[in-house]
Every structure is written in C-alpha cells, then in structure tokens.
Subunit: 231 residues, 2 copies
C-alpha cells in the first residue's frame, strides 16, 4: 500500500468511512448492518466505503448512503475515527465513523438491499460507563465484524450524552410527532423508562416545539396533539 504525492512519500493506511444508520423500529433502537461473509462467515458490519481523492468526507457518506442503502436526504454527523492497524484483518484501514438517523423504519427496511439486516442494539453496561454493544435480530445475536461492536458501544455512549441537550432525537421522527413518540425515542436510546410528566414539561420548556394544530389519527383512545420542531 503506497501513496505517491509531491509532499508525502510515506506508505499510508487506506481511508474509509463507516456509517451507523439508526432508526426506531417497534420502540427499539436498530442499526442497519450488512452481511460480510467475505470477512468472516455470518458476520455483519456497518456499511462503508473508501474515501476517494478529491471527495470530502460528507460526500463520501452521501455516496455510501446512496449506493449501499439507497437512502437520500437523511441527517448525519461525524462520530469518531478508528485507526488501529489490526482492526481490519485484511490490512490497515482507518475509518471515519458517521452517525445517520433515519426517521422512518419502514422506509429504511424497504430501501435496504439484499444482505442487510436491521437488528436491535443492546448495551450491557449501565448508566455512565461504556463498553461494546451487541446486536440482536429475532432474539438471536448477530456477530459483528472488525471493531464494530466497540464502535456501536461508543456511538451509544455519545448518543446518550447528547440526546438531552441537542435535537438529534427529532431526526429519528417524522416532521410531525406526538410527545409520546419523542419519549419513546429517548427511552429507546437511554434504555430505561422515563416519567411522563417530567419528560413532557422539560421538552416543552425548551421552547423548540410548536403545535401543528392537528391531532394524531388512526389510533385507538384519546388522540394526542401533533407537534413539530421550530426551525
């Protein structure tokens, strides 16, 4: 693996982008994973792709989302970069990991090509600690390739730390939503139940929501008011 440039003659690792695509499916936090028998039989991995010369990291993420999972126009942000030479058995690959949030699990499942699964993410570690995460599909553990279990663990920790004071939760919801839906997203990410009154008030007090004037339809029992983000 050799790089030739006018100002850098060192052999360099390859550079890739991996994308953690999250969505809420049946009140569970799930992640799009791709079967990678070429690396290890039965193993699953985050979708990713190499960074081409002259293309930005954001462009590479959009390329991966478009090519691998047929998705366009969803929100994403950078998480961290992993560069251990042993993380990929095939050679030294440095991966910049991005988080992408899909608001519609049904649409995502429909868009995913053959070989993809949308398993639930579970963390065994409590509260403030960290550690690797595991993925389960139909109550069966999906083995993760490379260092992706560790990456998913870091992702969960970051999500849990940011969800209270950023708007990332709303990227997992449709444009208009009920407060209960927002609470479900928070509960799925934090992995514990929250008290309804406290959650409602804290959310409304942030002043980032406004009523759409519409009400939830189709549900049984009392319809909830629909809110949207003020932008």
């Amino acid at each position: 693996m050799i790089i030739v440039t006018t100002f850098n003659t060192y052999a360099q690792p390859a550079l890739a982008v991996d994308v953690v695509i999250l969505t809420i499916k049946a009140s569970r936090l799930c992640c799009a994973l791709m079967r990678r028998d070429d690396v290890s039989p039965g193993a699953y991995a985050l979708p990713g792709g190499f960074v081409h010369h002259g293309q930005s990291l954001d462009q590479t993420v959009m390329r991966v989302l478009a090519e691998k999972v047929k998705l366009k126009g969803i929100a994403f942000e950078q998480l961290a970069t992993y560069g251990d030479p042993a993380r990929d058995p095939r050679g030294h690959v440095v991966s910049v990991v991005y988080l992408a949030l899909a608001p519609d699990a049904e649409a995502l499942m429909f868009a995913l090509p053959e070989g993809f699964r949308l398993p639930e993410i579970r963390v065994d570690w409590p509260g403030e600690r960290g550690g690797p995460a595991s993925t389960h599909f139909d109550n069966e553990a999906l083995p993760l390739a490379f260092d992706h279990a560790s990456i998913l663990g870091d992702t969960m920790k970051r999500l849990r730390g940011k969800i209270d004071y950023t708007n990332i939760a709303f990227a997992l919801l449709p444009p208009s939503f009920t407060l209960r839906q927002v609470q479900e997203v928070h509960e799925a990410i934090l992995g514990r139940p929250l008290l309804k009154p406290a959650f409602r008030r804290k959310l409304l007090d942030r002043g980032i929501l406004q009523e759409t004037g519409q009400m939830e339809t189709g549900g049984a029992y009392r319809p909830a008011t629909l809110y949207q983000l003020i932008s």
Copy 2:
C-alpha cells in the same frame, strides 16, 4: 496521489494527524503553533504529521509530540476529523485532530523548538454558539494556516462542553493544586469569571478530590490547601 493495495484501487487522500496542544500561561489558555512559511508567509499551524502504514493514530500523535515539540507522557484525546479537499492548498489531506493537554506551560515553552509560538486562544463568539477562534501573541494576531482557525473554534466549543463533567481540567494542572488553580483553568476555558463559593462546592461535591495534607508554599498571603485527584 495513488494508493495500491490488494483490496482498494481508488486514489485516496493523504492522512495526517494534527495536535492542538493546550496549556495555561498567565491564566490564559494558549496553544502551541508552528511557523509555516512554506504554506503561507508568516502563517502558523498546528503541529502534525502523516499517519504511517501500520501505525495507530495514537502512535502517530505520540510521534508528533516527541518529534515536533519534544514532549512525552502528556494526556491526549481525539477531537474530530477534517476532510475537505480544499483545506490544504497543496493537495487533499484528511486530518484527524487530537487535543493534548500540557500541565506545565514553563516546561512546554522550554521544550518547544525554534519556530514555535505559544499564543493565547481567543473566541469572539459568546456562550453556546460556535465559530472560528483566533490566536494572539503579545497582543498581535497570529494568522492561522489551513482550516486551523475553524479547528481551534471547534476545539474550544468541545472543551467548554466537556469541562463541567469530565476531568480534563486537571490534565492542565500539576499533580497537586489549589482550588483557585482549578477555577483559573475553568475561567480560562469558559472565558468568563466564576463565583468562588459555588465553584468550590460543586467541585468538592463531585468527590473526585482529596486533600494532600500539604499547603501551598511561596505565595504571599494565606496559603491554600493542596488537593489531588483520587484515581
């Protein structure tokens, strides 16, 4: 610029590591910068180096710290990765940026080779917002090369967000320190004065400090008790 591997035949950008080395000098937050006349006359930039094949990012950071600024054994952590193709006029270079914290500004100044400066970092944006930062040495602005003004701005935002609930402030202090010194570090990073009683109590209530039994020496006026981190 061409990469040749068994599994990746795309032309790729070069991969580098840049290090934001911070210290507290005269109650101001300062950053080690290197004169880079080769890029733009009179411009300064973060010290950095290319990532060699087979070396981890952490190893690369340690190499940069040892070679460029003659520093060993200081704490560092990853910040973010910048990959815009236009960020380096000489070619496409993706930089993984690290934050390193030096506890002793005097030792750092002594260690820095010719061509380095240790200017103060200033942010023009208030509170929660973000934006680029600028650097000033002897009340004179130092022009920053590449996208390093923007990187320093992001760094400051991250620092301000993390300082309240992590122990990064202590990496800018010697092993034993007074509460006033901790407050000075927080004030330098947050850019605003803090109330002494509230700060003391919040800090002591975290339960991460213990008295060393020793007192500050050499200072005029009443000596403060020295604390150390419980680990």
